[in-house]
Amino acid sequence: MEFKVSLGPQHPALHEPISLRMTLDGEIIRDADLKLGYNHRGIEKLAESRTFIQNLYLTERICGICSFSHQTCFTQGVEKLMELVPAKRGLYIRTLVCELERVHSHLLWLGVAGQEAGFESFFMYTWRDREVVMDILDTISGNRVHYSMNTFGGVRRDIDEIQRKHILDSLDLLRTRTEYYLNLAATEPTFVGRLSGVGKLSKEQAIALCAVGPTLRASGVPMDVRKDDPYAVYDEIPFEVCTADSCDVLGRAVVRVKELMQSYNIIEFLLKNLPAGPIKVKAPRKVKENEVFSRYEAPRGENVHYIKSNGSDKPERLKVRAPTLANYPATIAMLKDGFIADIPLIFAAIDPCICCAERLVQLDHPRSGESKVLTFSQLRQMANQRYKNKQFKKKETLWPF
């Protein structure tokens, strides 16, 4: 029996308009195709009619979760076009906000993953602790989500001694909480059992389909822009690229939790070694004719901006590639010939940020068959059904920590 599955687009479990439509052969997904566009706003065209300073705030609003990633990526590119060397202290503060954003995004993801696996209390807990990071960001930048910290040549706000101490104190709290979640997850065999072996993406596939971020690193490829192509002050910071070899959703969770721990270390390092001096240097208004290809490691993966300038104060072309878009082909590969029961977890595992990719996902099948409409959470529930018969033995599914 072939039937159509449609997810969303308005659904209490999802806070973004996403509609996933595909035709299935029984329980197995035969073919899937992407049609994006419900969240497409036309930012690239818009950017051509705005000045660089205006674009600073436009790129920030590409995404509400990883807003700083896009802004920093753009800022770095324009700084290279301007041949500007940013102030050292400014770069440190910029990197600090980058890492804080990574922490808040990964905590958010942990909660969502818990929810998809039917672990609701986990969701509430991580979101409560996420407020700690939000408070830090609030004290630094004055806003909870769009920080607007960047400017060409540095950052706009300085950190004083009281804020520094506040962040360091909060960091201890976050560390203990993250360890607590690790323990919580480790003692919950069903949770680990639900994640392991789901959404396999082999190393070769991941490379061929140009996956990025934790999705790629969980397939054992140590690609991290922070190491490969260091920006800001990452070449001065000791940190490790976290990978996992299990190639499944559990691996992606492991990579993210490890990265949380790395981020805490990086934040501590940055705050302890914060250099004195100005936070920004003066930037020119116009930009010489040139082009730049700027890369940035966002919480979801490699973020890419291609900026071409034409000598005026407006860019000739701004091309944005958000990490979620890069991960879609890999997601389809994970879904293909898989069970529909696994869709929610697989989708959550790439940490989809639909507005980031400016689009909506619609997977559908050309042939018409008996059609049946399911939502995302029904799928989740079907997943629960499918896994109910599996006996999880504690020893077999050890949390890898």
Binding site: H11, P12, A13, Q115, G118, F119, E120, S121, K372, V373, L374, T375, S377, Q378, R380, Q381, N384, Q385, K388
Partner: protein, 322 residues
């Protein structure tokens, strides 16, 4: 005079008026407790500490537009909420709320325990029908889940109610209450049964962890997805009244009933039902939703055997006592 008493019974106490007011109060009490247990405050600005919140909800729903989906079976769709509400209100009439001893009450007869249990089962079937007749996919799924759950909790609930009845040697709620009033120590025998009945009641009321049929993040509104306006208000009211009747039944059977005349009986009724509701709210706050298969597993692996065990204990003790 003889005709006045039944009318009073049906319309004022413990009939419609009292039930309506008291069930909304119970909903507020439950919501407030739930919120406090989650570190929240809960309804606050409607009446004194939000006490009128459920009433506001229901009045608002009644004043809203009433949409019947085009594809739905219109007559069934509209009739079901009314039926369900009538059924639970009828069940409430059999609760011995203000007196006992005088067996001449018109609404108490040998075997009314079975009737109340039966009447409390009917709303479940109506939920299923409501979901089915909405012809919405979520509603259908919700309806099917309702029926699946029914198989889980209904038998343990009946078995649990059976044990005090066996101990008291009567199928009449009033006589059971009177029996335990005379020998309050025997109430302790029924502790396991009390626990089983409490969990089964939670499942019957479809509250966390058993809110599987209308799990919001899973199937939107479950069997109520297509209901709006007055009909939704009826269903909400139904849930509240079912909670009151269910907790009243448990209080009458397991907690020794409500002795005294009009006022002391009322006081006892309120205290004991609120106690049961408190336990229900605590259960709701401390757990997260389980899956439907886990629920069935749990009720057959734990609840039903526990209820049977309780029955054995009761039979042995009855042999010793008599």
């Amino acid at each position: 005079m003889a005709i006045l008493k039944p009318i009073l019974y049906i319309l004022v106490y413990p009939g419609l008026l009292f039930l309506l007011l008291y069930s909304t109060f119970c909903e507020w009490f439950d919501r407030k407790l739930y919120a406090r247990m989650q570190n929240r405050i809960g309804p606050l600005h409607t009446g004194r500490s939000g006490i009128l919140q459920p009433i506001a909800d229901i009045v608002k729903l009644c004043a809203k537009e009433d949409i019947v989906p085009e594809k739905a079976d219109k007559r069934m769709f509209s009739a079901l909420p009314v039926f369900a509400l009538a059924i639970v209100c009828t069940a409430a009439l059999y609760l011995p709320v203000w007196h006992y001893g005088s067996a001449s009450s018109f609404n108490s007869f040998p075997g009314d325990l079975i009737v109340v249990a039966y009447l409390l089962t009917l709303p479940t079937l109506i939920f299923f029908l409501a979901g089915w007749h909405s012809t919405n996919f979520f509603s259908t799924i919700g309806g099917v889940r309702v029926l699946t759950m029914l198989f889980g909790y209904e038998i343990p609930l009946l078995l649990a109610l059976l044990s005090p009845a066996v101990l008291a040697g009567s199928w009449r709620i009033l006589e059971i209450a009177t029996f335990f009033q005379k020998q309050p120590l025997l109430l302790l025998v029924n502790l396991i049964g009390f626990f089983v009945a409490l969990v089964a009641l939670q499942a019957k009321l479809e509250r966390v962890p058993f809110d599987i049929p209308h799990a919001e993040t899973e199937i939107v509104g479950g069997q109520f997805t297509e209901y709006s306006g007055k009909k939704l208000a009826f269903f909400r009211l139904l849930g509240d009244i079912e909670m009151v009747v269910g907790s009243g039944l448990i209080a009458a059977v397991f907690l020794g009933g409500f002795p005294g005349g009009l006022l002391p009986g009322l006081a006892w009724f309120i205290v004991k039902t609120l106690f049961v509701i408190f336990l229900l709210a605590a259960m709701r706050a401390a757990t997260s939703r389980i899956r439907i298969d886990q629920m069935i597993n749990f009720s057959w692996r734990w609840l039903a055997p526990l209820a049977v065990l309780q029955l054995f204990i009761v039979i042995i003790i009855k042999g010793m006592v008599s």
